[in-house]
């Protein structure tokens, strides 16, 4: 076992801010939706709009970070070991079998994570952002702005946004649980807080995705 620097400062900042924002957007969003009561509708709308803008800003920075560091490659889905990883969660984990894939700072996501996170990044989050912005700037197409965008009503926009919200909420539950399935129950959580994680030492046999720049491990 060797202590490695897995999650760098920006990554941790991004992760936790994003977590907070999505929880907040979820709570305020479902209040707008009529499912819960918490802040009061008017405040929920105001907070949701504000949090949405903050979320957008964060996303811009995150995208920049992903590309300049090359970290985006971590999320490219792969078939390799996908089945093994799934089988691990269904059977192996109960028999205390080791994880089928090894976590290293160069390959920190298992194949299932890659698939799910890539889905979030290219599908769910974009749906939320696009439908959310349309929701925000929808001005009744018959009038004034968005003339060319002849959406007959809010319905399609709102329903898409709601679907995305349900998906994110389910992801959130699954994610919370899966956090506990690391090497130890809290190792994943600790890693995302401190950046450091105890990882298996030794050379990596499985080919990790090449990373453009050597990640800066200490600064």
């Amino acid at each position: 076992m060797k202590k490695e620097y897995v999650y760098r400062a920006f990554e941790r900042f991004w992760h936790w801010t994003q977590a907070a924002l999505i929880i907040f957007l979820g709570v305020t969003g479902f209040e707008i939706h009529g499912s819960i009561r918490f802040f009061g509708f008017d405040q929920a709308v105001r907070y949701h709009n504000f949090a949405a803008i903050s979320f957008l800003v964060l996303i811009v920075f995150a995208i920049f970070w992903h590309f300049t560091t090359g970290e985006w490659r971590q999320y490219v889905p792969t078939w390799e070991n996908l089945r093994a990883q799934a089988e691990y969660y269904v059977f192996g984990i109960f028999r205390n079998v080791p994880h089928p894939t090894r976590k290293t700072s160069l390959s920190k996501l298992n194949p299932l994570q890659k698939l799910v996170y890539a889905g979030l990044k290219v599908l769910v989050i974009p749906i939320m952002v696009v439908s959310g912005l349309l929701y925000m700037f929808y001005r009744y197409p018959q009038r004034y702005e968005v003339l060319s965008l002849n959406v007959g009503g809010l319905e399609i926009i709102a329903v898409l946004h709601t679907i995305g919200a349900f998906l994110l909420a389910s992801f959130f539950i699954a994610h919370l649980y899966l956090v506990t399935t690391g090497r130890t129950v809290t190792s994943n959580l600790k890693a995302m807080v401190t950046g450091y994680e105890e990882l298996e030492a030794g050379p990596v046999e499985k080919k990790a995705q090449p990373v453009l720049h050597e990640p800066v491990l200490s600064e």
Binding site: D42, N49, Y89, F166, Y177, T180, E219
Partner: protein
């Protein structure tokens, strides 16, 4: 690299916070503050009429006062004679019916129904002298009643049943020497009492508006800007701005809140956005008939019951008429939530002689509009419902003769005979009467525009953005956040959430059990 990120991020956040903080502060200089400022000073009359020798004399006939007015105010009577107040008619385009002259003169309502044959009484509220029947000369300027609008002495009243002539008790000389800009009492004397009593018709125009509190009317309250009717209903050459859809059809000459308050009156963009589809009145007049009740339902079919051969009236515990032999039974309401409709500013009218379908309510004045109509917004309305007389043979509404001026003229209010009232009334409108009558349900739409509440009392978000029977529950076919949702997405969404949660709990429980077992071994 990392430093640049964080500094940029921090900068972004600080910038964002500053802009939002600056966005809404300082109420000084807001459009509303400027409007309030503008109403601090009240217009003062520029001359002292009591000094004019032309007015310092005794007048025996009201027409002599008019002549005195005209002797200085040259040409004004001609202006008045072009107005709807005088003509009770204007040429309107009615969708589906074409260009028609309509107005109080010829339109029916579902209150006292219509003036034809009843001019002697109804026309007390005409701004002329002696409009007692259809032969009235609309070209005689001496019959213009200047005083009913311009009396500032508060003593001028028109005589009951006097076809617009002043009550004999009025001191015309005193009134003539105390003229000025129309006050609330001038307008209210007629407009608050339409339909035969206080607040009968409108629901938002009634005697409480003479001295309203701020809760009743923010505009007219003395602790507010203390505005009078003509501050909004301004006039150019005696043509008043504003009209009512009970007697007009076209989307023109309207008083708009926006003309003072602008199309973006809120500091909150989400609220301003509502204005594309929601009229100001919808949120800012949460209830109407705030002080006194207004008539909601009028059943003419029960009229005519007599006690010992005499007509009678019944009142409820609050002293409101619920039955009158001459008019039938009424339902009143107070502190009412309006009903809501899509309205684009144009209306249709039931016109005398139009055939009707007795199986559903006849719309006396249909207000047009729908969600898809780019010009339509959601408006609050009072809907007055009635059962009123119609000709079952010809299938049209009957103009009954109600007012009686001499014995045997058929006036229902003294003879209580619908046959005779129908016969005589229909003669006045030159339509045949089949001899058979019935009662049909009718609806009349009254946009609610007055009695604007203080902003703290405006309709709150969740009164419409709610799943449980909100104010707009009757307006369907479009998406309101918080009200509408897709039931499919709802089932699937909560289903997936529940499955995920169940899977996590199950998986976790098994893990815990297994690890316990292992430790025990």
């Amino acid at each position: 690299m990392k430093r640049i990120f964080f500094s940029l991020l921090a900068l972004g956040i600080v910038f964002g916070l500053i802009t939002t903080a600056l966005h809404k502060n300082s109420s000084e200089g807001t459009p509303l503050a400027r409007l309030k400022e503008g109403h601090k000073t009240k217009a003062k009359p520029s001359v002292e009429h009591s000094l004019f020798p032309q007015l310092k004399k005794t007048f025996t006939r009201p027409q002599e006062v008019t002549a005195a007015c005209i002797s200085c105010h040259n040409g004004r009577a001609a202006e008045v004679m072009h107005s709807t107040h005088w003509n009770w008619e204007r040429t309107e385009y009615i969708e589906g019916k074409g260009i028609r002259p309509i107005g109080k003169r010829n339109v029916l309502n579902n209150f006292c129904i219509g003036i034809s044959g009843n001019e002697q009484s109804c026309n007390r509220c005409h701004i002329g002298y002696g409009y007692a029947d259809a032969t009235f000369d609309f070209n005689d300027s001496l019959n213009v009643d200047c005083l009913v609008c311009h009396d500032n002495s508060g003593t001028y009243v028109k005589q009951t049943g006097g076809a617009g002539l002043p009550d004999p008790s009025v001191d015309l000389s005193k009134v003539a020497q105390n003229v000025g800009r129309p006050a609330r009492t001038n307008c209210g004397a007629c407009h608050f009492f339409g339909g035969g009593g206080n607040n009968v018709k409108h629901g938002d125009l009634e005697e409480a508006e003479f001295e309203p509190s701020r809760d009743v009317d923010v505009h007219m309250a003395s602790e507010g800007p203390d505005m009078v009717c003509v501050d909004c209903h301004t006039a150019e050459k005696h043509q008043m701005l504003g009209k009512m859809y009970s007697v007009s059809s076209m989307n023109r000459n309207r008083v708009e809140c926006e003309s003072c308050h602008s199309t973006m009156p809120h500091s909150d963009d989400v609220l301003n956005k509502h204005m594309l589809k929601v009229a100001c009145q919808t949120c800012h007049i949460p209830i109407y008939a705030k002080v006194n009740p207004t008539k909601l339902h009028w059943d003419w079919s029960t009229a005519g019951k007599l006690r010992d051969g005499k007509p009678f009236e019944e009142k409820d515990s609050s002293g409101t008429d619920v039955y009158m032999s001459i008019k039938g039974s009424f339902i009143w309401g107070k502190k009412l939530k309006p009903e809501y409709i899509w309205f684009n500013g144009s209306a249709s009218h039931y016109l005398i002689g139009d055939t009707l379908d007795p199986s559903r309510p006849v719309k006396m004045n249909e207000l047009f509009g729908s969600y898809d109509d780019p010009d339509a917004k959601i408006y609050p309305v009072k809907i007055h419902r009635a059962d009123q007389i119609y000709d079952t043979g010809y299938g049209y509404l009957i103009q009954p003769k109600t007012v009686s001026t001499r014995p045997g003229d058929g006036g229902y209010w003294s003879e209580f005979n619908w046959q005779r009232a129908a016969e005589e009334g229909m003669k006045q409108v030159h339509l045949p009467y089949s001899g058979h009558f019935g009662f049909v349900e009718t609806e009349m739409y009254w946009p609610v525009n007055h009695m604007v509440s203080p902003k703290e009392q405006a309709v709150g978000c969740t009164e419409c953005h709610t799943r449980n029977n909100g104010r707009l529950a009757s307006l369907t076919g479009f998406y309101i956040p918080g009200r509408n949702y897709s039931s499919w997405v709802e089932y699937l969404g909560w289903g997936i959430l529940a499955l995920t949660l169940a899977a996590a709990v199950l998986h976790g429980t098994i893990r815990i059990l297994i690890s316990r077992n292992r430790k025990e071994i």
